[in-house]
């Protein structure tokens, strides 16, 4: 662990325990003994269960990026048109005429393997919230999917569930799903990848951020009620699968796209006023990470009255309220006196609205329940001492060239038929016909081309070009070149429709980073993305890391999925269909 400047020295003695916590309970929370010692040092006492739960999610791989941070920092993230790079809910770029494109890609791999429909659906819901939280109206969704071998008995069930879930959510919220990619490979048999991307459009001068401001300002909860959904999902997302993961099943969340649609409309309606100071969606680790991050970014403290959290079930505990991953919820800081205005908007849309706390100048998170303090944590030390690892890594050895003998034996028509017929190469029409790719009436190029093209309502001469790309077997053979290739392919797909590529979001899906070979793949992929981004002036503005994608010790092929966004002048855009008999066909490139 690389010590942050003011990390307290690690006490050597056996740390104290309280509230029934034992070393086993600590381990169940995904914290190492060293991390537990740091918790005790920060608090100056043993944490209670609520506090332990909070540390466990804040320091999980999923929330803290502890294994990947060091390498993500090396990615190029700036350009004159970048308004917001990584670090907020989504990245933001300038697309001219006072408009901004807001986008991000995020994984929902583990939940989708356990319950494909709900896992994929809530993945779409989560990424949509990341985008409209920033004040953008979502205008397009994409999805990058990797399944196991078509022959594997589970594959059919997983494909149909995931596709139905993505469609079920996206179709209902009324955001067109315009593109994506699908691969099949036995390396994903026990661990599929479901990466969802949302692109939104906002006025560039009316973006919303998550840093809390204004001591005494009300902290407001909106959306759905809180139930016992997905408690410990964030730590699950950071743990390897094993035979006993069946036992973790009750953590599955159920998505409610109808409520999400209302939440989009209500948030955008309130964002048109001056009521909101800061806003953050409750994603993985729900109330804990949202309140914590908002306070931490604003350098403030926060007091929450957990009795006021709208609850769906009876007898919920503070631990459950803080860790629940119930979907379709947001946390906002309002301007003082704006409560009534905000309440009226959310009540009109029939959503929950509750003032659950206030901002303070103490730099602490204080949680109250039935009149007593049930948690009291210093925010900055907790955030700063968030572990950061420089994990050992090995460069990926070059594989021996494949045996090419016999390659000539296949006659070209057979080779062509095989290429067209293989699951990766075959048309994905049967998938995207289950997605509403037309709603909102701006889809100029539908799925099936190189990149989707979606017209800008407020700049009708122009459109966004959108694509997702990655070829895991290239990355497996050579992480540096394979990841660079993924960036280059996204860039090519955008230019192929006539767009100027502007920026990308990435979704880094890898195995267990504690293994030097896997860490080497990750490091190599970061290097490759960096090289390609610099060469193409194509910065990374947002992204997501999903590690521990392993089943019984077997890692997935490394998959740094790239989501590219470009701007195209509609009059100059091109599509791939051959247009007329007699036209000349050119082959360009090296």
């Amino acid at each position: 662990m690389s010590a942050a400047p003011d990390t307290p020295a690690r006490p050597q003695a056996e740390p104290p325990y309280t509230d029934g916590i034992t070393p086993a309970v600590v381990a169940e929370h995904g914290l190492t003994p060293d991390e537990y010692r740091t918790v005790v040092a920060i608090l100056g006492r043993a944490p209670n269960r609520v506090e332990l739960g909070i540390f466990s999610v804040m320091w999980s791989e999923h929330c803290s990026y502890k294994s990947s941070k060091k390498w993500l920092k090396t990615l190029p993230t700036t350009a004159p048109w970048v308004i917001q790079g990584p670090g907020e809910n989504a990245g933001v770029i300038d697309i001219g005429q006072g408009l901004a494109a807001v986008f991000k890609m995020e994984s929902h791999n583990h939940p989708s393997y356990i319950e494909p429909y709900q896992g994929a659906a809530t993945g779409v819901g989560g990424i949509l919230r990341d985008v409209f939280t920033m004040g953008a109206r979502p205008v397009a969704n994409l999805n990058a999917l990797r399944f196991g071998a078509p022959e594997d008995p589970r594959t059919r069930h997983l494909v149909s569930g995931v596709v139905a879930g993505i469609g079920g959510y996206g179709n209902c919220v009324g955001v067109p799903t315009v593109g994506g990619e699908v691969n099949f490979h036995p390396g994903f048999n026990g661990n599929i990848l479901v990466n969802a991307m949302t692109v939104g459009v906002a006025p560039a001068d009316r973006l919303f951020y998550s840093a809390a401001a204004g001591i005494g300002n009300p902290v407001v909860y909106v959306g759905s009620r809180t139930g016992r959904d997905g408690i410990h999902g964030a730590t699950m997302a950071s743990a390897e699968f094993s035979a006993d993961s069946e036992e973790k099943r009750p953590t599955v969340q159920v998505g409610d796209p109808f409520t999400e649609k209302l939440l989009i409309e209500a948030c955008l309606e309130l964002m048109a006023t001056d009521a909101i100071v800061a806003i953050q969606d409750m994603g993985a680790a729900g109330l804990t990470s949202s309140s914590f991050e908002m306070a931490s970014k604003g350098g403030l403290g926060v007091e929450l009255d957990l009795d006021r959290v709208p609850m769906r079930e009876t007898h919920m505990t503070p631990y459950e309220l803080m860790l629940s991953e119930s979907q379709e919820r947001m946390l906002m800081v309002l301007r003082p006196g704006a409560e009534d205005l905000a309440r009226a908007v959310f009540e009109k849309w029939e959503l929950e609205f509750a003032v659950i706390g206030t901002l303070t100048d103490t730099g602490r998170m204080v949680l109250r329940w039935h009149g007593a303090v049930v948690g009291d944590l210093p925010i900055d030390p907790l955030a700063q001492a968030s572990p950061e690892y420089d994990r050992p890594w090995e460069p990926t050895p070059r594989p021996a060239p494949a045996d090419q003998s016999g390659a000539d034996a296949v006659a070209w028509p057979d080779a062509l038929a095989r290429l067209i017929g293989c699951p990766d190469g075959a048309s994905k029409r049967w998938i995207w016909e289950q997605y509403d790719h037309l709603v909102r009436g701006n889809t100029l190029q539908r799925p099936g081309g190189d990149a989707a093209v979606v017209r800008l309502e407020d700049r009708p001469t122009h459109a966004l070009a959108l694509t997702t790309d990655c070829t895991p077997r290239y990355v497996e053979a050579d992480p540096v070149m394979g990841a660079a290739q993924a960036v280059a392919e996204a860039w090519r797909n955008l230019t192929a429709v006539g767009a100027t590529p502007l920026a990308l979001t990435d979704n880094m899906n890898f195995g267990n980073p504690e293994k030097p070979a896997i860490m080497g793949q990750f490091v190599g992929a970061c290097q490759g993305i960096k090289d390609a981004c610099l060469a193409l002036d194509f910065p990374v503005v947002s992204g997501n890391v999903s590690l521990y994608n392993e089943t019984n010790g077997q890692a997935i092929p490394p998959t740094p999925a790239i989501g590219g966004v470009g701007l195209v002048e509609i009059a100059r855009s091109q599509s791939l269909a051959f247009k007329a008999e007699g036209d000349v066909v050119f082959l360009l490139g090296a």
């Binding site: 356990i114 139930g227 959904d229 099943r249 009750p250 599955v252 409610d256 109808f258 119930s326």
Partner: protein
Amino acid sequence: MKAKVHITLKPGVHDPQGRAIGGALSHLGFTGITGVRQGKVIEIDLDETDRKRALEAVDGMCKALLANPVIETYAIELS
């Protein structure tokens, strides 16, 4: 023989449909409703005449397809 499979969401699993129905009922002026949950019933006509074998067969169907064990429970009724 006829089997009825009752499929219900496990307690605690979020039921957005039930909630929306409850909301609509109260908009329509119905009061005193404290909770609404929606479930499914699947009726299966079987050739089988032996209760025990029928039960086994239907239980197999529930496990293989009809119920989603992650979020649902089921009960079988024969007649």
